[in-house]
């Protein structure tokens, strides 16, 4: 039942002596990521808000990527998916990832379409 823990994060770059140490290490990492997010959210550097990549501001890309990084470490180290069998891990991770990616893709495209209909159409709504 997971008594033997894998004690390295960042693909073996950082190795901890005990499970407790690893937990604190991950906490420090997550706190730093959150601090970066909040700092960027408050300062909003112009370089990041004025440049777009595939229709989205660079700043928002950074937020989403950092969120996924945080989610990865919460799932892998706090929910100890790192210590589970690969088959269980894949079943848990890829099922929602696939379904959510599909849902988000469909809904956002549909929403953008409706936005254009309301923008160019003949129905007034913003009055």
């Amino acid at each position: 039942m997971g008594h033997d823990h894998k004690l390295e994060i960042f693909r073996g770059l950082l190795k901890f002596k005990s499970n407790t140490q690893k937990i604190w290490g991950v906490l420090i990492f997550l706190s730093i990521v959150t601090a970066i997010e909040v700092a960027l959210g408050i300062t909003k550097p112009e370089f990041l808000t004025d440049n777009y990549f595939i229709g989205m501001k660079l700043l928002n890309w950074i937020f989403i990527i950092l969120t996924l990084v945080k989610a990865y470490y919460i799932a892998w180290d706090f929910m100890h998916l790192r210590d589970e069998k690969a088959s269980l891990r894949r079943a848990i991770v890829w099922t929602p990832v696939f379904l959510v990616a599909y849902l988000v893709f469909i809904l956002l495209f549909e929403a953008d379409y409706i936005y254009n209909v309301w923008k160019d159409g003949f129905m007034a709504w913003n009055f």
């Binding site: 997550l30 909040v38 959210g41 919460i74 180290d77 706090f78 929602p96 959510v100």
Partner: protein, 324 residues
């Protein structure tokens, strides 16, 4: 651990007693629940994205809505939400430490860490309640147009937001809130806003320093501020004074914004609340020595999974509701 059935069929796949995923029944079921619950939250967040993309040019800016910190006055965007995020991550950490201590059968440590986890959860739920109260009360007030759009007010010289109380005049009016005891008994009315529409409009006309800010976002991603003539023209579209937020309308902008705020953070807050309740039950079980007698602390691990999941969801809510 669960009892192993000895039927003389070990080694055969269908003989029972197999654990192909190396996890116990209870843990697998917890994972089933978490995956399905994750999909529920994804549905919420995806529909939030849908509504936001639909009204991409008029959606409220979260930085301007969540600017309060308890016991402090002033404009502190995001600080308190970041604090809440940190509290939740912190209580996640004490939860892993409890699970870790459980593996090593250190009862007193598990008790201590579970206690800290419960405290963290309680602080988070309290903070969320405070956020809700602040959101519902509102701070500046606004006017709703006949199209259901929100008009906010700014001071022309500083560009700061102007509260209704800053400029609305008081007119001798007789309008009172309807009470069922004094009129039609089958009709009721909520509380009236502090100022009537006419008082706000008259205040705007009398005070040249006040301008109207519409929901429309400009090129720079900021709300459009009308000039004086446009403002005087625009106030004629006003139909209603809006203060704070409810499920029908809110002073921050798009009606859907408040609806999603209540549903997403409310659903998450409900998860945190039930997590705290479950943690308390497990906490007392630990003190009573239930798991000591059972020989393992897997139950702590299972509620731990749920607790981390709640933290995981908040990470996404934080990003998509407050940051992006």
């Amino acid at each position: 651990m669960e009892s192993t059935v000895t039927t003389g069929t070990e080694g055969r796949v269908w003989g029972g007693g197999n654990r192909p995923l190396g996890a116990s029944y209870g843990k697998l079921m917890m994972w089933f629940f978490i995956v399905s619950d994750a999909l529920t939250f994804s549905g919420f967040l995806a529909s939030y994205g849908f509504s936001r993309f639909k009204f991409i040019e008029t959606w409220p800016i979260a930085d301007e809505v969540f600017t309060h910190v308890p016991f402090f006055h002033g404009n502190f965007p995001m600080y308190y939400v970041a604090f809440m995020t940190f509290i939740l991550i912190m209580s996640s950490v004490t939860m892993v430490l409890a699970v870790d201590a459980g593996h090593r059968m250190m009862k007193n440590r598990v008790i201590l860490y579970m206690f800290l986890t419960i405290i963290g959860g309680a602080i988070f739920v309290g903070s969320q309640a405070w956020e809700w109260a602040t959101f519902i009360r509102g701070d500046y007030g606004a006017v709703e147009t006949r199209g259901g759009r929100i008009l906010q007010f700014v001071k022309a010289d500083t560009g700061e937001r102007a509260a209704l109380a800053d400029f609305a005049v008081s007119l001798p009016e007789t309008r009172e809130a309807h009470q069922s005891s004094k009129g039609l008994w089958f009709e009721s009315e909520g509380s009236l806003p502090s100022y009537s529409l006419e008082e706000v409009a008259e205040g705007l006309r009398a005070n040249p320093n006040i301008l109207i800010r519409t929901e429309q976002l400009n090129e720079a991603g900021e709300k459009t501020v009308l000039n004086r003539e446009e403002s005087l023209q625009k106030i004629k579209d006003g139909r209603l004074v809006v203060e704070g937020a409810n499920l029908i309308r809110n002073e921050y902008g798009s009606r859907l914004f408040a609806d999603f705020f209540f549903f997403i953070t409310g659903f998450h807050g409900f998860h945190v609340f039930s997590g705290v309740v479950i943690n308390v039950i497990i906490f007392f079980n630990i003190i009573l020595g239930t798991y000591e007698r059972r020989g393992h602390y897997e139950m702590v691990e299972k509620v731990g999974l749920y607790w981390h999941f709640v933290d995981l969801v908040w990470v996404f809510v934080f990003t998509f509701f407050y940051l992006v």
